[in-house]
């Protein structure tokens, strides 16, 4: 394996959310995380996670769309990199392996 690929729980969640959201920038990513996990997500935590994931090479970002409702400030859009996808797959696979055979317990009725 080229890189150590173990994602923290939150990083794992953030990468999944970035994949889910079209035109992923912080606001909708956070909204999705809260909606799907049912847990509050601190903005600060999200920003640091995004920054960290970008620094690790799991995410790539571009600045675009300075908008009026944003007081002329651009949005920062994120997309998954190949390394990010590998990390996501590895983590997901590891968890899935661990969970195999426990479906009866893990799946809620």
């Amino acid at each position: 394996m080229k890189t150590a690929t173990y994602l923290g729980e939150f990083e794992y969640a953030v990468l999944l959310a970035v994949l889910q959201v079209e035109d992923a920038y912080a606001v909708p990513v956070r909204a999705l995380l809260e909606a799907r996990t049912g847990r509050p997500v601190a903005r600060g935590a999200l920003y640091t996670a995004l920054e960290r994931l970008e620094a690790k090479g799991c995410l790539r970002s571009r600045m675009a769309d300075p908008k009026d409702e944003r007081g002329g400030k651009p949005r920062r859009y994120f997309t998954l990199t190949a390394a990010g996808l590998r990390a996501l797959q590895a983590t997901h696979g590891a968890l899935a392996n661990l969970a195999r055979g426990l479906e009866s317990i893990l799946e809620k009725p």
Partner: protein, 895 residues
């Protein structure tokens, strides 16, 4: 809608904390976007609050995270092990951050540890501050290390008798000694200062001319004394203490050259001492020590305090050698007076500090150290429990490759963080305790305890507290850290949270710690109870007289105007007559020595018809009283008659004696009519009556044989008026003062107080120690009980499933309670057995070091043991009962 701008300052904060401009723009933009939505939904005010809250949260997180970011290019590795490229230091930084988070996460546990440790540390730093002020550094002035004290008593003796040098011995040393400079002497002299609004007695010393030079104390005003003022006739010069000068003369600089009246004679003020200078013994006024040639030839009476300064190049050992040689020579030349005279040279602090402070302060310090040990045991147990809970976390990190030392180090860092907080919390606690200490010690005691003014939080004390904190941290954290990080990976991981009891060895350690706490608590409590009962005896115990409703006024008549005994007698009669005239006074009397008064006068007693060999001659307490004295103090007459007005100066010499004296010399005989002498060549004195015993002082609980003689037959200079009053004696203080002033306007009255105050003053130090000990012990007991309770509760909570199985299989509640309480019982019994041994040893130590005021009581020990046992059993029964009540099915399912 877009016109609504978010709070400018908050936005600036977010922008400034972002890691670069792009991030700053995008985050600010995101927030503006959401802010606009918030305004639409909730209004401007809510939106602003919302914005502030989130801006601060984002910014603060960015700041805290900033420090954690790994250097660019560094691989990203999960927290267990430093990556190869980041050095050990970087790893340490990460450990610290992790430790902070861990401490914050377990806020409850951390708070308990902080409070426990802070209490113990505050107790220690308080007693350290007292030790530092009273024992280690009671004197603080320049050149202190070259100062010394010379005594003619045994320097090893306790308490040291520093006023023990004969004038002629001193004169010889001053003339001959080469290794010591400015050898100078001081003689106790409490001067009556009059010519001011209220004449008063001032603590004073007569000193040789070099005294101020020796101590290198500069004068605030004027000069110190010169050699030619050491001659009688030109000796009427005085140096005022700085505080006295401020108080009585309003810091008037023209006071130098003015004449003041001391002991009824005019003295010229030549100087004012430096602020704070009050040597020896809280002196507030000084005059030259002037002696005639005969006076300087005196070898028999030895009551000078001698201080000096090391000559250049000389050491304390040189002075010792030289003075020993000089003393040997004196011993040969004057065997009669000097044969048994010892010679000691001490450093200034040892020689001048209050000797009795040592053992008392040591008692508090020892108790505080015990408390700290108990606190450490408590915290260690808590950490072991936490460690058991965190076993999974550690096992995982070990499995991922973290070194064991690394994990232990991280636990140590966590402990250090908590300790640091505890040290900070302990500081205000210490301040409060010292403030209370200052208030609880009366000024009359302070005078004789040098260094009291230094009782405060100094950098030294803080540093020592920190050192204690660090030591404590090592003590309570090392063992749990070692245990928690023991690599039993497979076991712990396999357990996967399904826990029963902890591994046996860990169990064992925690039990030892809990038992140790019980043991130390028992010892500490016993020591406290011993102290408290000693104090109880001293303050409230039977003293042989009725101390309530007694007004006391102490007077010291000056030597010269009252040289004639008849004048002293007239003064006393005049004051007594005025006192008797006060309606609220039922009886008024005079005594030379007040019980609990501090001063004692002894005489050797030679009974008629009994041949006492010189070695067996015993001293008895010698008191001179007016006939009404026994009435005033309500000392019962046991046999014969009391003194009466007929026992005047010209009539037969008579005495009333105490019961103990009779038991010693005339057991089973009628003592009335027996005669004795108070010196081998003295006159015969006839016993006319016997009275009950009186306790003279708290540290001499034994009833001492006492002789009471009529005041008229030997009027003393220093005496006390005693008036039994109807109602509060304090309300008559003014009348007593007026009575004295009317009899002699120059005569100050040293102190007017109630007899209860006198007793309180004398026992203040003891009460202070006892109260401090009580506080320390109460904290210790609480900690120990909480420790035991939480240990049992924790152990049981880990065994809930097991207990559920047992109950499901048919165990009764009682059996479950017995099973779990039994463990607490074993710990308690082991602790108590250990504690009994400790308590007994401590009691013995206190008996031997605290002037014999303490005596071991086995009843108290038994009662304490039973008390602690029942509280401890309760502490282990409660959690057991709670578990036993739980439905077995719930217990089985619990985790």
């Amino acid at each position: 809608m877009t016109s609504h701008r978010p709070p400018h300052l908050a936005e600036r904060f977010v922008a400034a904390t972002a890691s670069d401009d792009e991030w700053s723009d995008s985050i600010v933009g995101d927030l503006r976007e959401e802010y606009a939505v918030m305004i639409d939904r909730h209004g401007a005010w809510s939106a602003r609050t919302w914005y502030w809250r989130h801006a601060l949260a984002i910014g603060l997180r960015a700041i805290t995270v900033r420090g954690k970011r790994r250097p660019a290019g560094g691989g990203w590795v999960s927290g267990a092990d430093p990556s190869p490229r980041s050095g050990w230091w970087a790893g340490l930084g990460r450990d610290c951050r992790y430790a902070v988070r861990s401490v914050v996460r377990r806020a409850g546990t951390s708070a308990v540890i902080v409070v426990t440790l802070a209490l113990a540390l505050a107790s220690n730093s308080t007693s350290l501050a007292i030790v530092d002020a009273l024992v280690l550094r009671p004197f603080r002035f320049e050149g202190l290390e070259r100062m010394l004290v010379v005594v003619s008593s045994d320097p090893q003796q306790f308490p040291l008798d520093r006023s023990s040098v004969a004038p002629a011995d001193f004169r010889d040393w001053r003339r001959d000694a080469r290794t010591v400079q400015w050898l100078s002497a001081a003689e106790w002299w409490d001067a009556n200062l009059s010519g001011i609004e209220n004449p008063e007695q001032v603590a004073g010393y007569r000193v040789t001319a070099d005294f101020f030079t020796a101590i290198a104390s500069p004068m605030t005003l004027g000069r110190s004394f010169t050699a030619d003022e050491e001659v009688p006739g030109s000796h009427r010069r005085a140096v005022l203490g700085h505080a006295l000068w401020q108080r009585l003369y309003a810091s008037d600089p023209t006071v130098v050259g003015r004449t003041i009246r001391l002991d009824g004679e005019p003295y010229e003020v030549v100087g004012v001492a430096a602020p704070g200078f009050s040597l020896p013994d809280g002196a507030a006024i000084w005059a030259p020590l002037a002696k005639s040639v005969e006076g300087w030839n005196e070898r028999k009476r030895a009551d000078l305090t001698v201080v000096g300064r090391l000559a250049d190049g000389a050491t304390l050992a040189d002075v010792r050698a030289e003075l020993r040689a000089l003393a040997d020579r004196q011993r040969e030349a004057y065997p009669e007076t000097n044969r048994a005279r010892l010679n000691g040279v001490l450093d200034f602090t040892t020689g001048m500090s209050d000797a009795s402070a040592g053992p008392f302060v040591a008692t508090i310090q020892a108790a505080s150290l015990l408390l700290l040990s108990i606190a450490c045991a408590n915290i260690a147990n808590l950490l072991l429990a936490v460690g058991a809970e965190r076993a999974q976390e550690f096992a995982l990190r070990l499995a991922l490759g973290a070194g064991r030392g690394r994990l232990a180090l991280q636990l140590l860092i966590e402990a250090s963080i908590v300790s640091a907080i505890a040290i900070v919390v302990a500081t205000p606690l210490t301040w409060g305790a010292l403030e209370l200490s200052h208030r609880s010690i009366p000024p009359s005691v302070v005078r004789f305890v040098p260094g009291m003014q230094y009782m405060a939080i100094s950098p030294t004390v803080f540093a020592m507290t920190a050192a204690f904190g660090a030591l404590a941290t090592l003590a309570f954290a090392l063992l749990p850290a070692w245990h928690a990080t023991r690599p039993q990976l497979a076991d712990t991981l396999r357990q996967a949270g399904r826990s029963t009891t902890a591994p046996r060895q860990r169990h064992w350690l925690r039990h030892v710690l809990a038992a140790g706490q019980v043991a130390m608590t028992l010892a500490l409590l016993f020591g406290t109870v011993l102290m408290l009962s000693a104090v109880g005896r001293a303050v409230d115990g039977p003293v042989g007289f009725d101390k309530e409703n007694l007004l006391i006024g102490r007077v010291v008549l000056p030597q010269r105007p009252y040289a004639e005994p008849e004048r002293r007698r007239q003064f006393m009669e005049s004051v007594l007559a005025r006192l008797q005239a006060i309606p609220a006074v039922t009886v008024a009397a005079v005594t030379s020595n007040l019980p609990y008064g501090g001063a004692n006068t002894g005489r050797e007693l030679f009974p008629e018809g009994i041949d006492v060999p010189p070695a067996d001659v015993r001293a008895v307490d010698y008191r001179r009283v007016t006939p009404a004295f026994f009435d005033a103090l309500r000392i019962p007459l046991v046999g014969g008659r009391a003194l009466n007005e007929g026992d005047a100066s010209g009539s037969r010499a008579v005495a009333v004696v105490s019961r103990t004296l009779v038991e010693r010399y005339w057991p089973d005989e009628d003592p009335v009519g027996r005669r004795f002498k108070l010196a081998r060549d003295g006159a015969w004195i006839t016993v006319v009556g016997v009275v009950g015993d009186v306790v003279q002082d708290w540290f001499q609980q034994r009833r001492r044989p006492t002789v009471y003689r009529p005041v008229a037959q030997d009027p003393p200079f220093a005496h006390a008026f005693v008036a039994r009053t109807v109602g509060d004696p304090a309300s008559l203080a003014g009348d007593l003062r007026r009575a004295v002033r009317a009899s002699d306007p120059d005569q100050p009255i040293l102190a007017v107080e109630s007899m209860e105050d006198v007793v309180e003053d004398r026992t203040a130090g003891l009460v202070f120690i006892a109260r401090s000990l009580a506080v320390v012990s109460a904290i210790a007991l609480t900690l120990a009980i909480i420790g035991l309770y939480s240990l049992i509760a924790f152990t049981i909570s880990r065994r809930t499933q097991e207990l559920g199985v047992r109950m499901a299989l048919g165990a009764t509640r009682w059996q479950v309670v017995r099973l779990t309480t039994g463990q607490g019982c074993r710990i308690t019994v082991a602790g108590l057995l250990l504690g009994l041994a400790g308590a007994f040893a401590l009691g013995r130590l206190m008996e031997s070091t605290l002037f014999g005021i303490v005596s071991i009581s086995l009843w108290q020990l038994a009662a304490l043991t039973a008390g602690i046992a029942s509280v401890a059993l309760l502490a282990s029964y409660l959690p057991a009962r709670r578990t036993a009540r739980v439905d077995p099915m719930i217990a089985l399912r619990s985790e």
